[in-house]
Amino acid sequence: MFDFFSRLFKRDGSSATAKERLRLVLLSDHLSLSPDTVEALKRDLIEVISRYVKVDVGLCDVSFEQQAATVAMHANIPILGMQNERPAVPPPVYAKAESRSGGNSMHTSTGERPYLDDLHTASASSATATLSEEAIIGIEEANADSLNAAEQEAANSKRAHTNAPSNAGS
C-alpha cells in the first residue's frame, strides 16, 4: 500500500537519471570522435603554457576519460623551467571568459588562475622541486540554465561531431 502511494506521488523518476547519463555519454562520444580536435587543443594548450614556462613538448600528453560524474581532461605537461621574460603576448582577457563561463567552462582544479607574479616568486622552488606537473582540468557539469544558452548557441552553429570541447557538452 505504501508502495502504491509512493509511486503515485513520486514525481522525481528515472528520467532525470536517463537525462544525466545521456548528457555524459554524448559528451564522451563527441570528444572521442575527434582526434583532430584533441590534437589542436593539445597544440594550443602547449602554446599558451609555453608563454609562461618552458615545457618538454615531446612528452606532453592530453587525454580524456570518463569519471563518475564528469568527463575529465588530463594534461600531463612536463615543465623544464621558467621562461626568462614575461610573455610577449598579453594574457587573454579573463573577465570576458569568466562572464560567459557557466556553460562548459574549463578551469584548473584549484579554481584559481595563477597570477604571473605569484608564478615568478614561487618559481625557483617549484621548478626545481617538480619537473612534471599534472594539471587535471575538469569540464564542469553545466547547470540547467547555461546549458540552454549553450544549446541555443550550438543550434546556430553548424552541427558537427568534431566540435570543439566547448560545444560538445550541450
Binding site: 523518476g13 528515472s14 536517463a18 537525462k19 544549446e151 552541427r159
Partner: protein, 285 residues
C-alpha cells in the same frame, strides 16, 4: 507522370513543399532512419506512406533493409512479393514489374527488399539512379533505412532529398540518433519523429520527454507518436493504423503527412490512451 493526372490525384496542393519542381523528376525522396534498430522505422514508413497516399498523392515505399525484409509484412503485402530491389538494380526485371501495388490504397506501391542477399550487394550509384527513376512517377518516395551506419545506411540515404529521424525516448535511441544526424548530409535537413511516447510516464518523470530528446538532437519536430497497443494490433493484422480514422495514433501519422506536404498543422501532444489511464490510476507501469 502527367500534370493533369497529378492534379486530380494530389488532393493536397504542394506549393509549399520542397519538391514542387515542374521538371522531371518531380517527386521527393525521404529517407526514414534512426541508427538504432527496433525504434519503429518500418512502422513509421508504412504509416506515413499510407497517410500520404490517403491524401491522394502517389507514394512509393522502398525497403532498403536488404537481407531483412520487413516493410511488406507491416503492410500485409508479404504474399505478393515476386521481385525485389536487387532484381531491379541488376536489371533482371523492370521497375514496374517489381513494384507491388498496395491492396488498400492504389496510390501506394512497395518495392520490397531482397531477403536472400546482403547489404553490400547493392551498388550505391545504381541505388541513386533507382530512386531518381521512382521520383519520375511518384510524388513521394519513402525509403525505409536499415539499422546501423554501414553500407545499408549509405545506400538508403544516397538518393534522398530529405530525412526523417525516428527516435524513442530512451538513452540508447537518442545516442544513436545523435550519431546518425551527424552522419546525414546537411542538405537533407533531418526532421524528428519521437516515437513510442507514454504520456503518463513522462508526466511522472519516468520517461524522457519530447523536449528532453530534442534538447539533445535539436531538430525540427515533425511529429510525436504515442506508444499504444493499437499500433501493435494493427501491425499484427498488416494494416497501417494511419488508415484507422478513430485511432489517435493514426491521427498522429495523418498530421505528420499533412506537415510533410507543407500544411501548417501544429504538432499535437498525444493524450493518454484508455488503457494507460486505467494503468496510471493503479500506480502505472
Amino acid at each position: 507522370m502527367h500534370d493533369a493526372q497529378r492534379e486530380t490525384q494530389d488532393a493536397a496542393p504542394r506549393e509549399t513543399s520542397v519538391a514542387a519542381s515542374p521538371t522531371v523528376p518531380r517527386g521527393h525522396a525521404i529517407v526514414i532512419t534512426s541508427g538504432k534498430g527496433g525504434v519503429g522505422k518500418t512502422t513509421t514508413t508504412a504509416n506515413v506512406g499510407a497517410a500520404l497516399a490517403a491524401r491522394g498523392a502517389k507514394v512509393a515505399l522502398v525497403d532498403a533493409d536488404v537481407g531483412l525484409r520487413n516493410l511488406d509484412i507491416v503492410l500485409g503485402l508479404e504474399s505478393r512479393v515476386r521481385y525485389h530491389l536487387l532484381d531491379v538494380i541488376e536489371g533482371k526485371v523492370s521497375l514496374e514489374d517489381a513494384l507491388i501495388r498496395d491492396k488498400r490504397s492504389p496510390n501506394m506501391s512497395l518495392l520490397a527488399a531482397s531477403q536472400t542477399r546482403e547489404k553490400d550487394d547493392v551498388d550505391t550509384n545504381k541505388m541513386r539512379a533507382l530512386i531518381e527513376q521512382l521520383r519520375e512517377s511518384f510524388d513521394w518516395v519513402l525509403i525505409d533505412c536499415p539499422a546501423g551506419i554501414e553500407a545499408g545506411f549509405r545506400n538508403a540515404v544516397v538518393g534522398a532529398q530529405s530525412a526523417i529521424v525516428v527516435c524513442t525516448p530512451e538513452v540508447s535511441s537518442v545516442r544513436d540518433a545523435d550519431r546518425v544526424v551527424g552522419l546525414l548530409p546537411q542538405s537533407l535537413e533531418p526532421k524528428l519523429i519521437v516515437n513510442r511516447i507514454r504520456p503518463h510516464l513522462v508526466r511522472r518523470g519516468k520517461m524522457l520527454s519530447v523536449e528532453d530528446v530534442n534538447a539533445i538532437l535539436r531538430l525540427p519536430l515533425l511529429g510525436i507518436v504515442a506508444d499504444e497497443p493499437e499500433v501493435v494490433m494493427a501491425t499484427n493484422r498488416g494494416e497501417p493504423i494511419a488508415l484507422d480514422q478513430r485511432s489517435q495514433t493514426g491521427a498522429s501519422y495523418r498530421s505528420i503527412a499533412a506537415r510533410i506536404v507543407g500544411e501548417n498543422v501544429p504538432v499535437e501532444r498525444p493524450r493518454m490512451g484508455f488503457f494507460a489511464r486505467i494503468s496510471a490510476l493503479f500506480g502505472g507501469r
